[in-house]
């Protein structure tokens, strides 16, 4: 029995072999993600750039007419880019106050029982597949929006009615979807603020709210900002939920317009696109990819600066 058992403490030769093998395996695993990132980057640039060379940067990025299948096609994605930027910005505007205040509640104020309930709700929220958010948007937000639209534009002669599929619906869905990310990371940031800060502040006579807003929040700022940046990353990359609620027509991102995001532009037309149309969809992917990279660089920069400050 003893002869058959392989033990790393059995003998020196065996031991060094195991050590080497383990090292090789770990290194292989580490290279997988590096290789993946490099091949994705390479692939995105290879497949995304031909259309740019053909149409010119201005013809794609600064042109607002999207008619990919017309006799003289036009591949302007300006409105699509604007929609992604405006939509994500608005979602952050709604999501951040809710998220940060929830985090403050969890980290500073709530009793253990409340904490438990809220936290399990957030965990559940994080686990719901994005397509479910989309379905709820279709069932709940869109009809409400349609009523609102009918009421607001009842005398309008130019408004195109969209049946409630518009920018606001998409923003609401996105805002709810980024909440778990915002809350979890903000709460971690608040929890890392040393207790001495709070105690000193309270000892100096500051009230609890004064302590939270003047002492705890400022010292947790880098963490909260990285929560926001991650939230932006999640929102800008979301496709499944908003393809159902946004209407998917290339329009200027006005609140009650049917709009198309970068992600949904790819999702909705990839099925039958051919030739240059397909190439431009890859270019949209490239634009999205560049957005995500920029967001990640900003995040790394913030985290680094936070480290230096701390």
């Amino acid at each position: 029995m003893k002869e058959n058992t392989i033990s790393i403490i059995s003998n020196k030769k065996m031991k060094s072999r195991v050590e080497k093998m383990a090292k090789v395996i770990f290194q292989c695993c580490a290279t997988v993600s590096v290789v993946a990132v490099f091949s994705i980057t390479l692939y995105m640039f290879i497949s995304g750039t031909p259309a740019i060379f053909k149409e010119g940067i201005a013809g794609i990025l600064f042109n607002s007419v999207w008619q990919p299948t017309a006799a003289t096609p036009s591949f302007g994605i300006l409105y699509i880019i604007l929609t992604s930027i405006v939509g994500v910005f608005l979602a952050i505007c709604i999501g951040v106050p809710i998220g940060v205040f929830t985090a403050i509640n969890l980290a500073e104020i709530a009793s253990p029982r409340v904490k438990k309930i809220v936290r399990s709700a957030i965990e559940l929220l994080a686990g719901i597949p994005s397509v479910i958010y989309g379905l709820l948007g279709v069932l709940i937000i869109n009809p409400v929006m349609f009523r609102l639209e009918l009421w607001i534009f009842r005398d309008s002669t130019t408004h195109q009615f969209t049946g409630g599929a518009n920018l606001i619906s998409a923003v609401f869905v996105l805002a709810i979807m980024i909440l778990p990310t915002l809350i979890n990371i903000s709460e971690t940031a608040l929890n890392t603020v040393p207790d001495e800060y709070r105690k000193s502040s309270l000892a100096l006579g500051a009230s609890r709210m004064q302590t939270i807003f003047k002492v705890v929040l400022p010292s947790a700022k880098p963490g909260i900002i990285s929560a926001i940046v991650l939230g932006v990353g999640r929102a800008i990359g979301e496709a499944m939920a908003i393809v159902l609620v946004a209407g998917n027509v290339v329009n200027l991102p006005a609140p009650f317009n049917s709009v198309r995001f970068l992600t949904t532009a790819i999702v909705s037309e990839m099925g039958y696109a051919q030739g240059e149309h397909r190439d431009v969809l890859f270019t949209i992917g490239l634009v999205l990819f560049v957005f995500i990279i920029v967001i990640n660089l900003v995040l790394t920069y913030i985290l680094k600066r936070g480290d230096q400050n701390g």
Binding site: L150, Y272, H277
Partner: protein, 272 residues
């Protein structure tokens, strides 16, 4: 050593196999070149696939450059069959192009069940989709804004609908959906919505509009009274009897039970 031997054997075997296949392809494979409408891509690709069950040595080589380009290459002799999704003009017929209608593509306009409007004219339909008519009131219905739902660019149904109405790329959609089923679902749930779908997916959840007073059915499409339809034509240069046996076999296959099954399975109506 043993491994190397195995490797060499496998290599030899595979070369052998490839060789055999290549040889038989050169002997028995008969190519039929088809060129034309992108709308007929589904039909032609389906044909290329299932025809091999009946005629194993016919290889259909499809290209999709557009109906007119298809006729052009037919006349030039660079293709055997032109696939065309419009009617053939007299000028084209004079050049020896002979049409064989294989299928009909029909599209139904659908609206919400609560909508009292039963029929539209083609012109009204165009006005609705271009945004000139914006309320069902203008068409004798309720005071309800029209929500214009369509398919995404590149969809065959959208291309057909816009082409049949004769005004491609002028429509202003309120929602673009990337599936036929989703069009039905949207139209069924939004009061005042209008959408278009291919005939095979119509169900009871939406109301099908008559066009110029004609209800859509296989019969009205075949006799031509229902207007939102277009023919799928496969044209040859000269009559069918003048073609080589493989081209004739392609048409035989389309007339056969399997060919007709293919046509109905992709949502088209047989021209027979």
């Amino acid at each position: 050593m043993k491994k190397v031997l195995y490797g060499v054997m496998i290599l030899l075997l595979s070369i052998n196999l490839v060789g055999c296949k290549g040889a038989s392809a050169a002997d028995g494979d008969q190519k039929v070149r088809m060129n034309g409408s992108t709308s007929m891509e589904k039909l032609v690709n389906g044909l290329a696939e299932v025809i091999r069950d009946t005629y194993p040595n016919i290889t259909v080589e499809p290209q999709f450059t557009g109906s007119s380009a298809g006729i052009e290459s037919l006349i030039m002799g660079t293709t055997d069959i032109a696939t065309i999704s419009r009617s053939i003009s007299d000028a084209e017929k004079e050049q020896g192009v002979v049409e064989h209608a294989v299928a009909i593509d029909g599209i139904a306009a659908v609206t919400h069940l609560s909508n009292p409007v039963d029929t539209l004219t083609k012109e009204q339909l165009i006005d609705i989709y271009q945004g000139n008519i914006r309320n069902w009131r203008e068409l004798g219905g309720n005071d309800q804004p029209i929500v214009v739902i369509g398919r995404e660019a590149g969809s065959g149904t959208r291309g057909a609908f816009e082409e049949i109405l004769g005004v491609p790329d002028t429509f202003r959609y309120a929602q673009e959906v990337n599936e036929t089923g989703a069009v039905i679902a949207k139209v069924a749930s939004i009061p005042g919505a209008i959408g278009y779908v291919s005939l095979d997916v119509i169900d009871d959840s939406t109301k099908v509009l008559a066009i110029d007073g004609v209800h859509v059915s296989e019969e009205t499409i075949k006799n031509g009274s229902y207007q939102i339809q277009r023919p799928f034509i496969m044209a040859t240069l000269g009559s069918l009897e003048e073609q080589n046996i493989n081209v004739q076999n392609v048409f035989h296959f389309i007339d056969s039970k399997e060919g007709q099954q293919l046509i109905t399975s992709i949502g088209l109506i047989s021209a027979k």
